[in-house]
Symmetry: D2
Subunit: 236 residues, 4 copies
């Protein structure tokens, strides 16, 4: 019956839609779903595909998210895969990965995640050859390097989340300490995301004014302790 509700003009041609902005999130766990939720609310894509090895779970999650779509600028959200609905995506975000088992070494975990990435990336290379890869799976810097090597994509299109969240934490904690909006704190955590990461005190600045007037050695022990304490909070 609905087919008679809007009768197109007999001479009308089908509309030629603009090329959609398309994204794929691989892995619909907590991180993948938080990504999806945030990207939907902020209207980043015209089409967003959620892929997960647990097909039933991802279909349930998509149905839940779709049912709230009338409250926002709607995105065409689909439970699917890179190989079907995700073809020619602009960006593929990988959050999928194995969890560390008791007694498993970090190296064994990486080994299992490399195997998972091989499967995912084979499809990405085949169906989304021009996509940007955004890697979130931990250990993120290793997995980003793995994705770079497996995909053969140019380095400008393989991005890891790296220390971006650590940097955000760092700015928020410094902003709280200085009573300044964290968006005005310019400071970085660099290195590998995790135990060996490093705060770049020397370039940390607010409005171009350096946080450390001279160098680290010129600080008093109590000043060094205060800054070290902020960095420890960032890491943990």
């Amino acid at each position: 019956m609905f087919d008679q509700l809007f009768i197109p003009h007999p001479e009308a041609e089908k509309p030629t839609p603009l090329r959609p902005r398309k994204g794929v999130i691989v892995g619909a766990g907590n991180v993948g779903l938080a990504c999806a939720y945030s990207l939907l609310i902020q209207d980043c894509f015209d089409e967003l595909v959620l892929q997960d090895i647990n097909r039933q779970k991802v279909e349930g999650e998509v149905m839940d998210l779709v049912h709230g779509m009338s409250f926002i600028n709607p995105t065409n959200l689909i439970a699917g895969t890179v190989a079907d609905a995700g073809k020619d995506a602009d960006i593929v975000i990988i959050t999928a990965g194995a969890a560390q088992k008791p007694g498993e070494s970090r190296l064994q975990l990486v080994g299992r995640n490399v195997a998972i990435f091989r499967g995912i990336l084979q499809d990405v290379v085949t169906y989304c050859p021009a996509a940007i890869l955004l890697i979130v799976t931990n250990p993120v810097d290793i997995m980003t390097h793995v994705a770079l090597k497996i995909s053969g994509f140019p380095s400008s299109r393989v991005i890891g989340s790296g220390t971006v969240l650590d940097t955000s934490r760092f700015r928020v904690l410094l902003g709280n300490r200085l009573n300044i909006d964290s968006r005005s704190v310019h400071a970085y955590i660099i290195g590998e995301h995790g135990d060996s990461e490093v705060p770049v005190w020397s370039t940390a600045n607010i409005a171009g004014k350096k946080l450390l007037p001279k160098d680290w050695e010129s600080l008093s022990p109590s000043e060094q302790a205060e800054l070290t304490d902020i960095f420890i909070q960032v890491k943990n």
Copy 2:
């Protein structure tokens, strides 16, 4: 040391901030956290307080959310209570409630939730006497009535989430069926959220054009079956 970074002018008076928009979410479970996440991204409040009986859990959740705050327009997010940080909030969203125990009747569940609401609302009435109450706890229409009676607030300030999500689902499913943006589908689910809710077919319209040309009885059995099927998907 930081205290010398920005030395205020000796004659400067403390800035007089604009009165902040303040919200409280009571209950930091899945629903409460999804509310918080969505409200933060959409920059709805200057201050947002998360209250939960599990103080440790809510403090962890708040720390996680705060650390991403440099990516958005920051909200002052606090793990606290209506009675402390939440004083004089503009809106209090209640998602807290007990889960149904095996063998427990719906009436027994309501009884336990009424007890929980008494505690929460005593603080709301004392510390946020001008707030709008938004009730999400299930059974939502009963708990909204309970909140109205316990708080003594005027009915214009006690709102339940009611069938708002059912209505959204209804519009999304009709929009999908008609290949129309769900925001252009004007249709309502009314009644009590749950088994007895009702689709208002008679006023459902797109651009003022009614979905049902005449009345329900004029539809063929297959048309009735198709519409009934959409409503069943809304309820489940």
Copy 3:
């Protein structure tokens, strides 16, 4: 000197950017500039080209707008033409047109605007064959038909602004009268934008509830006068 500030890694390939969303506005008068300003603030495009026969004027306007770009999500705004910077635009908005001269008939004005459109559309057809055309130049419905015929584009890609602003006015005025958010008023002005346009009272509704309980004839003379007065305000 700046070239040494950021030295790219020797192995790095040039980034492959996402295909940009590109728009062109033809005509940088008041209407075209208001369009540009609104589209820039709302971050609708990655690239926006402003074209005007007065090249000097459009370059000045673009420079002014560009200098505020650090306050918003920046758009690559260019003073150019459909034939150069505007190639392969997704949408071309035409606001250009002649102003009515004293003593000139409406038909003579149309004649001059048709000549202007021929020039503009020849470039659009050549350089942006897949674009959507949005016509704003008055008399808008005639010029939209002209654009359809000259361009040979399918009707699904030639859109006139028509009565969209009249409809907005209608909803705002009805919303004010009813003390309701105008976004909840569903009512349309149809027909040709201008003296002969028509309010569709029969389908005007709020939440599916019709504004007119029965038909126009059932209204009292004072009720008819009140509604007529609202429509007169819409037209003028």
Copy 4:
């Protein structure tokens, strides 16, 4: 007739609205209207009052803007004054001022603008004693000082637009030169807005990396010329 469309429940109390965010723009010339347009689209206020000595002009402009309100989150936009609709505004933006007459000295112009400010600020002090004053009228730094003295407001509540637009231009031009998003360029123009303003090369940085490796004197003449040229474009 409309009064019967929505009959409130006899027991219902009037809703208690949240305290609105209210702004006033004094002066509805090009600058004031561009402010209004931008603030409306970005949904900054619940109520916005436009005041101008030309009451008829401001009423026409407000009517135009109101009629597009159904396309955005609506703001209650009013043609009025600080003394009536603008009472208890959170912020008062002053763009009003006299234009320089031929043969008039800059000092004479200031004198006339001081007289205009006296009238405006008397109302602001009386009706919006807690407001933030944002001064845009030129010469902006002098007029901001004048507003500070006349109003007697604490300096934390009297803000001039100063060199904020010059700083934006500076960042856009540097960003264009470096092929970097201008929002990542941290550089300031300070001093009085106008001929005597100064670029702060010493703290200009991208991601904490200084633009000038050493000091100005260490630059080659051609490097100095290139930077000077950028600053000259900022000023003009």
